[in-house]
Symmetry: C2
Subunit: 311 residues, 2 copies
Amino acid sequence: MPESTPVTVLAGGVGGAKLAEGFARVGDDLTVVVNTADDAQVYGLSISPDLDTVMYTLAGIANPDTGWGIAGDTVAVLDQLRRLGQDTWFTLGDADLATHVFRSDRLRRGVPLSMVTADLAAALGVRARLVPMTDDPVATLVDTPAGRFGFQEYFVARRHADTVTALTFDGVADSRPAPGVLEAVRDADVVAIAPSNPFVSVGPILAVPGVRDALATSGAWRVAVSPVIAGAALKGPAAQMLADLGHEVSALAVARLYAGLIDAMCIDERDRDLAPAIADLGLQVIVTNTVMGDGPDRERFARELLTGRDR
Amino acid sequence: MPESTPVTVLAGGVGGAKLAEGFARVGDDLTVVVNTADDAQVYGLSISPDLDTVMYTLAGIANPDTGWGIAGDTVAVLDQLRRLGQDTWFTLGDADLATHVFRSDRLRRGVPLSMVTADLAAALGVRARLVPMTDDPVATLVDTPAGRFGFQEYFVARRHADTVTALTFDGVADSRPAPGVLEAVRDADVVAIAPSNPFVSVGPILAVPGVRDALATSGAWRVAVSPVIAGAALKGPAAQMLADLGHEVSALAVARLYAGLIDAMCIDERDRDLAPAIADLGLQVIVTNTVMGDGPDRERFARELLTGRDR
């Protein structure tokens, strides 16, 4: 692949960040469209967990142990908030908090999230274009037998332990794609759907009016990477959500969710026996080690995906 | 003085904090009414410098070197804000920043500043009643030959180096005293005006509608402590402001500013020769060492003031 091949990644948090880093190490024309339906107000600050995870990863400052937050970060603000009687259910490191202070201030002054994100990414030396799916507020609401929760409450405070009965992306019907999103999906040579949660990470991106159509009609070679490996998710509640929402917990089920939008499905070697069924959906199947380790391993994976395209 | 003698202090920042701590060590019925006209939005956070200086001092966590901020505080958030390209002209420590995050969040949700302040003070173990002069927004604007500046810009960014030609307390005419302020001034046995800047610290408190009248007609013994000693201010621009605004730079000039509102004026030993002229204003004069050092020395000073009352 030439270094200037335009690649667009549709990304949630950690899985999206790893794949984005892989492509960033291969080429220099990368756009990452990131889910913002997990965004929330925490302690009065505007946090964008997926954007920040991708941004910190591409900036080379992500905490390698957690996948989110900044490496070596301290928690002096959080400790003091706790002393002030604040329920500190959501961990924010000090350097990470600077991102939220910076973002909150500008959003309140009317700067669109896409511009704030571009400024943050530039300041941190990120060369890829990092774009929120929309500048409009969208909020994932999770219905469970215990009631309806905002995503961060479901995910962090309740440790995604509830059965999910339905998902709502509040505000998405009225949202518009952020500047550059539709072009990035339409005009790229490669569009990769990251191994992020199909329901709550990729789902909201595709639900922004215009994005699904842009992907369905894109001239790009479109590949999705399964976040499910051998019946489990590497991270987060994807497997549980598949089960809760009536799907089989497998890469095949993920392929079915994306059928009509992609040309190829990338699955892990451990799921090799699913390849024929996925091929029966009319999809090219790429089988490889989909577990991305450090930077060079992420690059290895991105190159293998691209080899699939050239096949 | 019985421990339960009700004392009210009208306070700005560092000088007010020292006097308040002195009284807090003497008795247990202390109300501190604090200037909020220095309050500002910094990095999108609501800061109340004078309230925080008094609060941290009464909580025993103030930075003894600066008089403001929290002892031993770190600056990880500020360092990262700088990396993000933010002009970090206003230093905020990490633990200090927690106060501002806590306050900003609640103010935005409509909680009055007086309630937020009470919650913060209680969480930090402050037993005195700490009350902002008003819950309404008031902003000191400083006119100088270089233009008009917000107070923090004049004070911090421009290091109070400009000649002050006029002061405006924007919003004060429409402000109401915070709950308890008028009662604290009217009903105390002792009201002490701290050795704070008469123009920009005590001035705004007295400009809140009702406060000046409450002080003028209070049944309390009312004493003011001169922030000017031997023609200079211990801290800040009080001396320069006296000169800029056409006053003599002396404790006598301060006494003249407060005449009609106080019964007694406390001046430093070095200004002993001003005592007759101050007495000619109809004021009792207390002459002592007005430079307050550590906690026990602040208590010493508070006791000396009260001895003046009992004389």
